[in-house]
């Protein structure tokens, strides 16, 4: 079952020469029980998508259903089942964390206090401080508690881990996995690609308002190319021979090692190395960031 489904969802700001197509005919499905990563550079349309899903802004055309409900017409009922963390969280600066939580809990019609306490303890959040005195990391934690406190069926998180230290990021990842294991869903936008790689099941890549691809994270990292590093004795003659090989590019030499990018099969490379004494051979899958850059480099899939 799709928890998020958009049909030709489009958002245009301004008109005439000022017209900006922030989101262009987005067709996207996010399934129940998955962690979906939404990737793209600034201005790609990630936050616009999230704001449309939450009815903070209205589409120019197209529609979106979230948890089976129309995102615009049934927004109040829908928001009971959604937890949201905005990219730039702003709260009442004069209120303490506890006061903010109480207000949001009241507006939600009450929450499980034991779970709320467990969350704040896990994230090591001091609720007695005023919001204005929170560090950016603590403010992020408060935002996470606000998003998670009602155990929502769908979590919508815009750049969720900015400002969190590595330990807290680990705890965040654990909470996301628990959410998924409970059959709930997560839709998160991020530019921290290792984070997406670590926790997401699928990822959608957005560019200039258009969805370029949706792919399993595991499959995305397997397609296209690999990085190969060779430690050889007769390094001097090697680069010239390797560059001529089919599928080999970006050959570079550092001391006695050669680094190259290999597309396709290993066989041509291994045959070319027959006359060399290979001390070490390392193969690295490309990081999501490299795949991401490859997408943006030529606008096509790598």
């Amino acid at each position: 079952m799709a928890v998020i489904e958009t049909r030709d969802l489009t958002k245009i700001y301004g008109s005439g020469r000022q017209e900006l197509r922030a989101l262009d005919q987005l067709n996207l499905q996010v399934q129940q029980g998955e962690i979906f990563g939404y990737l793209g550079p600034n201005g790609a349309g990630k936050t616009t998508t999230i704001r449309l899903l939450l009815d903070l802004i209205r589409p120019s055309s197209g529609s979106a259903t979230v948890l089976g409900m129309d995102a615009q017409a049934e927004s109040v009922a829908l928001h009971k089942r959604v937890g949201f963390l905005p990219g730039e969280l702003a709260l009442w600066k004069g209120q303490t964390g506890a006061q903010v939580l109480r207000l949001v809990a009241d507006l939600r019609g009450g929450v499980d206090l034991a779970y709320l306490r467990q969350l704040t303890e896990r994230l090591q959040l001091d609720l007695n401080m005023r919001v204005r005195n929170y560090s950016s990391g603590n403010r992020r934690k408060l935002g996470l508690v606000l998003a998670l406190m009602n155990k929502p069926d769908l979590l919508v998180l815009d750049e969720p881990t900015g400002g969190l230290d590595p330990l807290m990021q680990q705890i965040f990842n654990e909470i996301m996995f628990e959410t998924r294991d409970e059959g709930r869903s997560v839709f998160l936008s991020s530019h921290l690609l290792p984070e997406v790689q670590a926790i997401c099941d699928r990822v959608g890549i957005l560019r200039q308002g258009r969805l370029i691809t949706v792919e399993q994270v595991s499959r995305l990292t397997q397609v296209g190319f690999r990085w190969v590093r060779l430690q050889v004795r007769d390094v001097a003659a090697l680069p010239g021979r390797l560059e001529a090989l089919e599928g080999v590019s970006e050959v570079s030499v550092e001391d006695s090692s050669v680094r190259l990018r290999l597309s396709g099969d290993f066989d041509p490379l291994l045959r070319a190395l027959q006359e060399s004494y290979v001390e070490e051979l390392h193969v690295h899958e490309p990081t999501l960031e490299e795949i991401f850059l490859a997408y943006y480099g030529n606008g096509e899939t790598p």
Partner: protein
Amino acid sequence: MSGVLLRATLRQHWRPTLYWSAGLALLGLYVIAVIPDQDALDNYVSLVASMPQPILDAIGAGDTLLLRTPEGFIQYGFATWAQLMLAVYGLLAGLNLCANEEEAGILDVLLSLPLSRRRLLLERFIAFALLTLLITLLSALGLVLGSGATEFTLAPAALFATALNLVPGTLLVMAFTALMAAALRRHMLATGIAVFFVIGSYFLDFIASAISEGPLNQLGRLSFYRWSSDGIAPGSFLPTENLALLLGVTLVLLVGALWFFDRRDIGL
């Protein structure tokens, strides 16, 4: 309507409300302290009466006979200035309904909760209407306390009526500001127009009052200050016609604000 946001707004704004109340109560005390007895009042009015009649009309002191009564003097000395101050309060409250939180980005969090935009605006408006009422009641206390130090016997009910008459005009300014913020979205522009409305209305009433008759005088009827002060017998409540007009316009402005706020993008 659950009232959660209404109660939260009352909790968040009790402190500034007390400051405003204290300021207006001090104004009331000061106005009363100027006239400890009839001689002092007569002297003051004689001094004021030396000004040209159009100026007296403009500042609401045209009827010097009325001004020689303590109720008339309080109407002139307290209500005129308190209405101007409360108009500023109404403007700030109007911005606090949604515009300030939208500017700060807090509305993104609020409206991602199970809370409709209409409910948000309405609960906030009701909360600030109650706070306005509280400010005027507490400022009336200043008048009542001050009157104890004079030789006059002033009915507390009359003093409370003088203060409560300030509420409808304040609500109108609040609704006007909310409408501007909802329709224009740009915080600075909405604030600028609301400030122009408050100051412009004051000067319109001021200038139109200086002209005793004719179309220019009638132009003053466009100012909410005119309807907040015209035709009121000192110490009594606003005439029904004035009250109905001020509250009616407030309602129309509020409905307009709700209409725009419900249909537009948030936070851009």
